[in-house]
């Protein structure tokens, strides 16, 4: 059962008494082979959960870093089908790390929900996050994903009041992704003080672990979030390492994985430091 990998990972994190680190990278960025090398290196570098973005031409909730990453992925020819192949190649060498696909709805509309769910499950994917598919529109997709026991992971935001959180919590599983700022990815940083009570509210409403993302750029920031959330997500800062590597003419995987290590270490050490 695929959803099991997410639940098992959060149970293990709880037992260890620490938050998890979720690394977001883009399929095909900067090329299919390098993206696979990055994916394969992520668990050892400290990623507890992987979010694999699949490129879309019009990523309207993303800031410039992930927009550029999507363009690089598209340029490398990564379709949704290609992303699933990449997922399968990763899964062949790693049976435990939860793998979540993240992107926009239209490629799934084209693929067909049922076919997508079937192929994603076969590729070893555990769940999906679809940015532009709110609960009101999600039932047909949920039906397809349920049939393959894939999680539909929902987003909660600073604009979600208690009534809204109830709607968000319906038909979701795995964890809830708390978008800590009203904005696009990789631009604003949340007020730390506002994150803890928000995480608590989301946890209470959903009964699920809460991962917090948007605006996590530094190890210090990652550690701060790790003290209050069940997991910390970083994305823009990782795909920016790809951009920097391309600019410097260096191999991208080493740079991305070094950044993952720094952020992952900060997340791992966060609660320990606190008790010292």
């Amino acid at each position: 059962m695929t959803t099991g990998r997410i639940d098992a990972r959060f149970a293990a994190l709880k037992a260890e008494g620490r938050a998890g680190f979720v690394a977001y990278v883009m399929a095909g960025d900067p090329s299919r082979d390098e993206a696979l090398e990055i994916l394969r290196g992520l668990p050892a570098a400290g990623a507890d959960i992987i979010e694999l973005g699949f490129p879309f031409s019009d990523p309207m909730a993303e800031g410039p870093p992930i927009q550029r990453a999507a363009l690089r992925g598209l340029k490398a020819g990564l379709t949704l089908r290609g992303t699933l192949d990449l997922a399968r190649a990763f899964r062949d060498g790693d049976a435990e790390t939860p793998l979540i696909l993240m992107g926009y709805l239209n490629p799934l509309e084209t693929y067909g929900y049922a076919a997508f769910a079937y192929d994603a499950a076969a590729a070893g994917v555990d769940g999906v996050i679809i940015v532009d598919c709110p609960p009101e529109e999600a039932d047909p997709l949920s039906d397809a994903l349920d049939a393959e026991q894939l999680s539909l992971i929902r987003l909660a935001t600073p604009t979600s009041d208690d009534a809204r959180l109830e709607v968000i919590a319906r038909r979701t599983s795995g964890f809830v992704y708390y978008v800590s700022v009203a904005g696009v990815t990789g631009v604003k940083e949340a007020q730390s003080a506002s994150v803890a009570p928000a995480v608590e509210r989301v946890r209470r409403a959903s009964g699920l672990p809460v991962a917090v993302g948007f605006g996590v750029k530094t190890p210090e920031r990652a550690a701060e979030i790790a003290r209050v959330a069940d997991a910390v997500v970083a994305g823009s800062v990782l795909v920016d390492e790809v951009a920097a590597a391309l600019e410097a003419g260096e191999p991208a995987p080493a740079r991305v994985l070094a950044k993952v290590r720094a952020l992952g270490d900060a997340v791992r050490g966060a609660r320990v430091t606190e008790t010292v």
Binding site: S57, D58, E109, T110, D132, A156, T159, G183, V184, K188
Partner: protein, 409 residues
């Protein structure tokens, strides 16, 4: 003649959209979760205004005295003679303040935004007509205005950029993607998701997440309501057909909607075929696309086999969008409306023909509708009447047209 005919005067058994903003499989609310509370709040606010007679009275007053409504229904006698078929009438929305139908919607939405207590207005624009109309109403009511416009369009439509700036708007060129209307819409959505507390997104066409397609349609329906009364007064009957150009589809749905229940009235939309429907360079989403999800709604889209959105092409920057309002998608599927197309070359010919025969320089958008009017008039025959929505005037296009005709200005 009675200036404005209220919404309630026309029964609507058609009943679209449903409570979730769906026109059959189309429409809906496909936005990021951060925006969901905002679109739900917008829907509540719009429903409250619709039920409030003082809102309609205020809107009517501005439409009459500021916009200049009702627009005339004009018998295009020489064009009728030229084509030799049904009588051709122009619904002259190009005579509105700012020169296009766009202001009908902007006036409605700005009054709504003010009732919601919003102080900052954002908009996207392609050719600049909606940007100018938005900047105009923001100036009139003293609200901050930010217009997103593709960098390529900023270049192509510099007179409208200057007009917006004169009106006090900030124009932000969008370089992401390919720098056209769809990228401007992405950027406006990114602004909205970032500035949720004080910002109102004033969408210019009958597309986007619910309630925009319905709200824009309702505000633009003043065109069709007037045309209905005017045709009755002039000819004592309903027209046999209505013809309008389609980009996102707001002028067309505004003309069509009050006639949807009138089965004898043919509704004909004309899409931009650009360099031809057989190639990739067109903007005919209904005839060359397939259903998908973009910018908040499910509708027909120009897209590749992976679901990536393609750029539309048209000589008219106002039609150059890879999607279409969801109500048109529905009207096409149920067969209530027919959709045809016209190429860049045909639009250019009609731009000149209408100028010379009627003394009316049409915008390139209605020039597409003009390209099909001859054959439609012939199909209907001499006893019939066909109304064409003259949704914008061509002043904005003279530079582009001159260039295509090889004339130095």
């Amino acid at each position: 003649m009675n200036a404005i005919i209220p919404n309630q005067a026309i029964p609507n058994r058609y009943g679209m959209p449903d409570a979730d903003g769906r026109f059959g499989p189309y429409g809906g609310r496909f936005v990021a979760e951060t925006l969901m509370p905002l679109v739900l709040e917008l829907n509540r606010a719009y429903e409250a205004c619709k039920a409030d007679p003082s809102f309609q009275a205020e809107l009517d007053d501005f439409l009459t005295h500021y916009v200049g409504r009702p627009s005339p229904l004009y018998f295009a006698e020489r064009l009728t003679e030229h084509h030799g078929g049904a009588k051709i009438w122009f619904k002259r929305d190009e005579l509105n303040h700012t020169g296009a139908h766009k202001i009908n919607n902007c006036m409605g939405q700005i009054l709504l935004a003010m009732r919601m207590g919003k102080k900052r207005i954002i908009a996207e624009t392609g050719a600049g007509q909606h940007g100018v109309a938005t900047a105009t109403v923001c100036a009139r009511f003293g609200l901050q205005c930010v217009v997103y416009m593709g960098a390529a369009d900023v270049e192509r439509q510099s007179p409208n950029v200057f007009r917006m700036k004169l009106l006090g708007a900030e124009v932000i060129p969008v370089t992401s993607g390919r720098g056209t209307l769809k990228d401007a819409m992405n950027e406006a959505l990114r602004d909205w998701v970032t500035n949720v507390a004080d910002t109102y997104y004033l969408i210019g066409t009958a597309a986007g997440p619910h309630p925009y397609p319905t709200m824009v349609r309702d505000f633009q329906s003043v065109i069709g309501r007037e045309a209905k009364v005017q045709m009755q007064a002039r000819r004592g009957k309903l027209p046999d057909a209505l013809v309008a150009a389609i980009g996102g589809g707001s002028n067309a749905i505004g003309l069509f909607h009050p006639f949807i229940e009138d089965a004898g009235v043919r509704l004909i939309g004309v899409e931009a075929a650009g360099r031809g429907l057989d190639g990739p360079d067109h903007a005919a989403s209904l005839q060359g696309g397939r259903p998908g999800v973009l910018h908040g709604n499910r509708t027909y889209l120009l897209q590749d086999e992976d679901g990536q959105i393609l750029e539309g092409h048209s000589i008219s920057a106002g039609l150059d969008y890879p999607g279409i309002g969801p109500e048109h998608a529905w009207l096409k599927d149920i067969g209530r409306a027919e959709y045809r197309s016209a190429t860049d070359v045909e639009a250019l010919e009609q731009f000149q023909l209408c100028s010379q025969l009627e003394g009316i320089i049409p915008a390139l958008e209605p020039s597409h509708a003009l390209a099909r009017i001859g054959e439609i008039a012939a199909e209907i025959g001499k006893d019939g009447d066909v109304v064409l929505n003259m949704c914008g005037r061509g002043d904005k296009d003279i530079f582009a047209v001159a260039k295509h005709l090889g004339v130095e200005l």
